[in-house]
Amino acid sequence: MERLKADVVVIGAGVTGTAVARELARYQLKVFLVEKHPDVACGCTKANTAIVHAGYDATPGTWKAKLNVRGAAVYPQVCRELEVEFKPTGSLVVALAEDQVPHLYELLNRGYVNGVPDLKVIGRDELLAKEPYVNPKAVAALWAPTAGLVNPWGLAIAQAENAAENGVEVLLGAPVVGIDVTDGLVTAVQTPDVIIETRYVVNAGGRYSDEIARMVGQDDFRIVPRKGEYYVFDKRFGYMANCPLFPVPTAISKGILVTPSVDKNLLIGPNAQDQEDKEDLDTTAEGLQEVLSEALTMMPDLPVKDAITNFAGLRAVARPSNDFVLGPAPGVPNFINAAGIQSPGLTSAPAVAEVVRDYLQMAGLELKGKKKFNPFRKGIVTFRDKSHEEQARLIQEDPRYGQIVCRCETVTEAEIVQALNRPIPCTTIDGVKRRTRAGMGRCQAGFCTPRVVEIMARELGLSWDEITKKGGASRLLLGQTKCSAAVKGAGKDA
């Protein structure tokens, strides 16, 4: 068993863990980021509403309230540094009846207490001018200009890449199977392949953060996943919403909303269903129906027939607090939790990273700045959003830009090759999809799958039938045809 030495081990490479890893990369520290999946951003990060919330929703005084506002404030800069898509669209909470209007003022007041800037209640005319496709029965709305849209997995990938470029070691496919604690201090983190001796551990284990905490004896919270289901619609209808449109919220959820995505798809969801199973990401007929009928209340002309996919995500809700669980485990001062990070967890991620850094410092970790830290990360150079002149130049520089692989999303071979050769290894079809959007369009990978598999096999030195969708047993192809196998066999004999 290989033994490694670290100052800090961050467990979990979702948007929170990668934010923490990038934050710690600023200092002279040996940091490991360990993730059980074959890629980063495979848990809650890959399936959520992808919104940077303004922060009027959370109960004042909670971590959620504090970190949401701080997170939203730093998002534009973080996304600029990391070349991640961020759109400062603002957001609206729409009152569809007069009796909902008082709720808008409640949210306005709560937002004021939480320090959310520039909130205001707008009337029907202003609302319909901003959002012509909203239900015309709407009477008023709360306008929150600091909200926005982000690509959540894009952010996690970018944070991980930037962390790696600044010296953080990223171990993928490395589930934590045990944590050694001696005299009330964590001494090592075990994975099946390596033992990392470490001075500090950060628990950003998402849905499994309670189980990670139990490895050091902490048993005062548990994660109850809350499922949310979504529909995604064809990009062609992205114009129907200019910003996230929330209904008036309920006790457990911000409600089923209609929102554009950074990539101009229309997205509706999520519902909210508490469950015990941490792996159950099934969509259900009932859940999808609920999402659809509520979204239709917000937008009666929703292009129901042009849904291109549906999915479910899990929110890692911590019981009993229902708040983020941040700080050292009781009695284990060098084990810092960043757990229970559910909505507005994506928004809060950059702020959570700062809080975790401060807790580490309070626990005795010396933070000496690294002179060479480079906060900037260059993304994959995309083809689709360029002018014809720029596109012509790209093809001249690299002819692989002249080969469209995914026609729905206009993704070129050059982009796929880049995705497969970056600081964080990308080894799955879903990984390529999240980095390039190949397969995310209206045909949902019908046309591009054979081409993507071909490029992956070539770049990764694998045979076609070794390529997986998402690691493990998710192989796409189960062997060769009779003829093809026979021909190959004949070749070998000759």
Partner: protein, 425 residues
């Protein structure tokens, strides 16, 4: 950026594009260019290695590649120029085309006439909303066909097929021949959506059961698909509780319909008929954007390639007539789907053409019927009718109206409807 000029530019070198290009050339157009994103012309026919193509046109049972080859050969021989591995990015309303390939980079192509022949794509899981998990092993039938027939790989060994579209039926047989086990074909409608000959030759001959009024209601398995739940549905397509049955499998194939691929057309501002998913066209196959023609599956989904070819000849002729200054006078009648009919193509017919050539109307019926008349009426007046012994939604009906058989005046509306024999209309 390289700039080139052509008389007619055809986008898509499948059966539609090949027929349109070679016909335009045969009509006397000087410079005809075929642009296609794939490595070789032929389109989806190249992966359709089964036979049965060309039965109507050539009285032969050709394979897809054989059928394509006839037209590839003809196009080359007639002097059509090919630009392969080239993707069209945009079509501007002034008929300037921007396209890319790795050799030349960005190309600007100016065309006097454009023929859209981009074909269609398959409806997928998202479009039909199958609940459950999202493992690997779920393929549209056409993607599976490409893997098996062109790449030599097996998507799976233990297969359930949802939808009785023709590609699904063909693949049921193909998988069986490869030694895979096909559990059955499940079709939500009370009737099959494939051609009758495919039901017989692909399913019955291989003892593969077809379950009508059934659908997949859940996908199981987190990494690779492990099973599906199938349920019987009532007349409103609602799953009947208690009818659920879990079928273990490693592959789910979807053959649940095709969608004309009109992103380029839409972006160019061409009017799309929502019923067919393709451009509104005249009998010259001209779209609402002057000088832009369309044919084949980009207009409406065909079940026989022979009909695609026939329709595409019209588009090639139409484009040629525009280039050569021989377009008919712009007096048009409109067509309309009446009772029992889902749609009629073309949407508009030149009055002049009704007098000078046979006019073919393509239509699909709403439900299976026996012993009917397809009738063309104007107001209350029956103009033309033909008897059909059986009509089914899965089989396109074509009606040939001989020259001078009917007369009409510009602006008149011709309705096409089904009348049961014996019924008075």
């Amino acid at each position: 950026m390289r700039s080139i000029k052509y008389d007619v530019v055809v986008i898509g070198a499948g059966p539609a594009g090949l027929a349109a290009a070679s016909r335009a050339k045969a009509m006397g157009v000087k410079r005809v260019l075929l642009v296609d994103r794939d490595r070789e012309p032929g389109g989806i026919l190249q992966q359709c290695i089964h036979n049965g193509f060309g039965l109507h046109l050539f009285k032969e049972e050709l394979t897809g590649p054989e059928y394509a080859y006839k037209f590839i050969e003809e196009s080359y021989a007639s002097g059509v120029e090919f630009l392969m591995n080239t993707m069209v990015l945009t079509i501007q309303p002034d008929r300037q085309i921007y396209a890319i390939n790795r050799k030349v980079g960005m190309l600007k192509i100016e065309a006097q006439a454009i023929v859209l022949a981009m074909g269609c794509r398959e409806r997928n899981r998202g479009a039909v909303t199958i609940p459950g998990s999202r493992p690997s092993g779920i393929f549209t039938a056409g993607t599976a066909q490409r893997f098996v027939n062109m790449e030599g790989y097996m998507p799976g060994r233990h297969v359930v097929i949802l939808g009785s579209g023709d590609i699904g039926l063909i693949m049921a047989r193909r998988f069986t021949w490869e030694g895979a086990k096909v559990e059955g074909v499940f079709e939500i409608m009370p009737y099959s959506n494939g051609l009758n000959r495919n039901i017989v030759q692909c399913l019955k001959d291989n003892n593969i059961p077809l379950h009508l009024s059934h659908t997949v209601t859940k996908v199981h398995g987190n990494e690779r698909i492990e099973a599906v739940t199938v349920s019987q549905v009532d007349e409103h397509f609602t799953p009947l509780s208690g009818s659920e049955q879990v079928i273990p499998c490693d592959t789910l194939l979807l053959s649940v319909g095709l969608i004309p691929e009109n992103e380029l057309s839409r972006d160019a501002g061409i009017h799309i008929d929502p019923v067919i998913g393709g451009p509104v066209v005249t009998d010259e196959m001209e779209t609402t954007l002057a000088g832009v023609f369309a044919c084949g599956n980009v207009v409406h989904v065909h079940d026989l390639v022979d009909n695609v070819t026939r329709e595409s000849w019209l588009a090639g002729e139409g484009a040629a007539r525009l280039v050569l200054g021989q377009q008919p006078t712009r007096d048009l009648v409109t067509t309309k789907a009446g009772s029992g009919v889902r749609y009629v193509v073309p949407h508009k017919i030149h009055v002049e053409n009704l007098a000078t050539r046979t006019t073919t109307l393509y239509l699909r019926v709403l439900q299976p019927e026996e012993n009917v008349r397809v009738e063309l009426v104007s107001g209350t007046k029956s103009l033309f009718s033909v008897h059909q012994r059986v009509v089914r939604p899965a089989e396109m009906v074509s009606i040939n109206v001989p020259p001078k058989r009917i007369t009409a005046t510009a602006g008149e509306e011709l309705m096409v409807r089904l009348v049961r024999e014996g019924d008075k209309a």
